[in-house]
Symmetry: C2
Subunit: 125 residues, 2 copies
DNA sequence: TCCTATACGTTGTATATACAATTATATACA
DNA sequence: TGTATATAATTGTATATACAACGTATAGGA
């Protein structure tokens, strides 16, 4: 529930830029691989989600020209996803805004943030 | 993300009983008021959600005969929601299962759980 | 070579959420 | 009294998620 609350505020910040928090997350994953392409399974793994959802998020980003999809030549089951220049530019615009907002939003000290992350890690098992 | 992970495992546990984690949550809120009825706004407040979503969750519970809806006589804008005997019975069946699962799942000590809750409270502001 | 199992992705259905617009009732107050 | 405002809930649209069923493509073994 609490995580949702944060998530929503991030969504509100991103809304004027035309993407959701989850789509922003996918873009960051893609940038992490750049200039190498990512597969849908890789994206899904990083999001701890299903490939079916990665399929649809990527499709939304593709329609906005923020990513490109091409069938992988070496393994035609795969689809190579690559963030476009527009995607990178959008990320660079968004990063400082989102980071500042996150810090302010959760109102925790640095020490508390570390402890929170430690506990969340433990929860993940 | 982490909260989602937990949430899904709880959903998996509840699935055989025909309700979702969110619906279970609504039932518990209603039991907390029992035998007093709750309004949709009260439920939404407790869930840190919107009344629109409470409306739909309650409707699903109503179709399963787990709650009853009646228009409030004193204030006809309100709708009184009351958990039924079947609802209470289901909760009693589910509580130990869900609690055991939560404890196991998150793998934290009692002290850590308290600290986690404290930090989450701080985050809520 | 052929057949089976696995890998990668897509689509359909159900769940939940946020936000905006709308309806209906109640309250405040000029 | 009559009008404006606030409260309570509903409905429509968009977002995301999980799960299951399905369609290809690849790999491995008989």
């Amino acid at each position: 529930m609490t995580a949702d609350r944060l998530s929503n505020e991030t969504n509100a910040i991103l809304k004027p830029f035309g993407i959701s928090k989850e789509q922003y997350n996918v873009l960051r994953i893609l940038r992490g691989q750049y200039p190498k392409p990512s597969t849908l399974s890789l994206i899904a793994d990083r999001m701890i989600s299903k490939t079916s959802n990665a399929t649809r998020l990527v499709e939304k980003l593709r329609k906005k020209k923020l990513v490109e999809r091409t069938q992988c030549e070496k393994n035609r089951r795969r689809v190579d996803i690559l963030v476009t220049k527009q995607g990178i530019a959008l990320l660079e615009e968004l990063d400082p805004i989102v980071h500042a907002s996150n810090r302010q939003m959760r109102n925790l000290t640095v020490k508390e943030t570390k402890e929170l992350n430690r506990l969340l890690d433990r929860m993940r098992g």
